[in-house]
Symmetry: C2
Subunit: 306 residues, 2 copies
């Protein structure tokens, strides 16, 4: 089917755009200087992530469709983590000219399909030549008249609860790094996170005082809630969901593994949480995060390691 | 002052964020899962560009401050080209861990200053490690209740007019490529475009039927107006502003040079345009762009050249 360099920028944009169904929030989709997206609330929630080959994904470990799903998911989850509903994605796509057109098309299929799951669509973007593949994804969302659910609202006495998988993506990555090809469920979790996109609405319905998506590891991300709220988070490790499939390092994966894009929230103690939310700790006076009363294990990641 | 790798992701974000004044449109700035930006119109204009080192800028040809100004300018101009007013920028910043902290700070100073010129501010973003510097810039804007000024509204009988510099950035780039260091005005134009951000309001006030920013070269970008509107654009080369400083290749630079981020628009023939807008041609039945009745010169760029 040829390479994107053979096709050229404008023909490539045309090919990719044809694969992007536009949802009702998109008032003007790809093809002009900018997109126009509905923001009925009068405010727009907006977040952006830059994903770089070799750092955030490897083309030998993940196919283009899964890379697209994952790139979309992590940004859509950030919108949901504000208590908003995703409306649209903008995608900047950098790739070597020798990249196959079919590879690019599968990438955009993944972006479009993940958007559909979250109720959004890919409304615009940019394609450029570069030595490595990179994806710049911006997600937009609408608050529907409600206040944003920030990281700062956790108060002493609140409970801490999580929704969605923890440690699966990290365990899957460890398997790939060790050259193993199973358990398939873990490797699939690394390749394609499944953020529970209803978590924002659920958290709001149950009076959440703070909400974020777990992208860098539970302990590290709870640290953001602690810091933003000026409180301490105490985690009871026995309450953290650690399915047997995570293996002997399961608790470590669940506490420090990133990229599952589940959600963590604080709720008033009186909240009657549904079983999909697991209470794992509480908010107290103080600073930082404690696990079983001690300093948490190291291992949370940093985008600029030595 | 050290490198961004020594500093680490979160400390770097803190350092950079402190340099970003927040304008009135930003309801929630950097530090949470997403920003919240005012969209009083009930719609938001959104555009994204990915800029890659060695392709869109060279660190030996442009300093960090100018790279920041230019990256912001090209996206802010896209918002203005919809007839909207810029409100906020989101910036994804990829860089090698050995990049100096001061270099990054100057980059963000440039982003912030260009935003201020356009009435916007940097409301959020992302930093990641990568082999090369890359910038993913998303700009948001508000239409203030008006219809977007798209590329498709040019009608036979309309006049074609331009606002802002043409060919300056291209001529400056040619000088740098030839190892020359002047004329300084041209080299400065390559490093830091100066989009006339009032052009959107002006175009709307004079009844523009189509508007875009000239990013890839006048002839190529007029081709987008021709294609989107199903019309032909006829350019009179003698009417195209070609200041003497552009040198012997001035007309070629003005017709095919990109990155000045001036604006081109179509207006009803009756429009009484101010002198800052220069009428350079007209819209007729047909397809494509003609310069003095002939096919235009080649030389417009493509992001995936051979």
């Amino acid at each position: 089917m040829g390479t994107i360099g053979d096709l050229g920028e404008f023909a490539l944009i045309g090919r990719l755009t044809r694969r992007l169904p536009q949802g009702p929030a998109v008032r003007l989709g790809p093809g002009d200087d900018a997109a126009v997206v509905a923001a009925p609330d009068g405010r727009v929630v907006a977040t952006t992530d830059l994903l770089v080959e070799g750092r955030h994904f490897r083309r030998d470990w993940s196919g283009p469709y899964d890379i697209g799903r994952k790139a979309a998911a992590q940004n859509l989850a950030d919108v949901v983590a504000m208590g908003a509903r995703p409306t649209a994605l903008l995608v900047g796509f950098a790739a070597p000219p020798g990249t196959g057109v079919e590879w690019a098309e599968r990438l955009y299929d993944g972006l479009a399909d993940e958007c559909r799951v979250a109720g959004a669509s890919v409304a615009g973007g940019d394609v450029v030549g570069a030595p490595e593949v990179a994806l710049a994804v911006t997600a937009l969302g609408d608050l529907g008249g409600a206040a944003p659910l920030t990281r700062s609202g956790g108060r002493p006495g609140d409970v801490v609860a999580v929704r969605g998988r923890l440690g699966f993506a990290s365990a899957g990555l460890a398997l790939l790094a060790a050259g193993r090809d199973g358990p398939a469920e873990l490797i699939a979790a690394h390749r394609r996170p499944e953020p529970p996109y209803t978590a924002g609405d659920e958290a709001r319905a149950h009076g959440a005082t703070a909400l974020l998506d777990v992208s860098d590891g539970l302990v590290q991300d709870l640290g953001h809630i602690a810091e933003a709220g000026g409180v301490r988070i105490e985690v009871d490790s026995a309450a953290v969901p650690v399915p047997e499939i995570l293996g002997p390092d399961g608790l470590r994966h669940a506490l420090t593994g990133g990229e599952d894009h589940g959600f963590a929230a604080t709720f008033p103690e009186s909240a009657a949480l549904p079983p999909s939310w697991r209470t794992i700790g509480r908010v107290v006076e103080g600073t930082g995060v404690r696990v079983d009363g001690r300093d948490p294990p190291a291992g949370a990641w940093d985008h600029f390691p030595v």
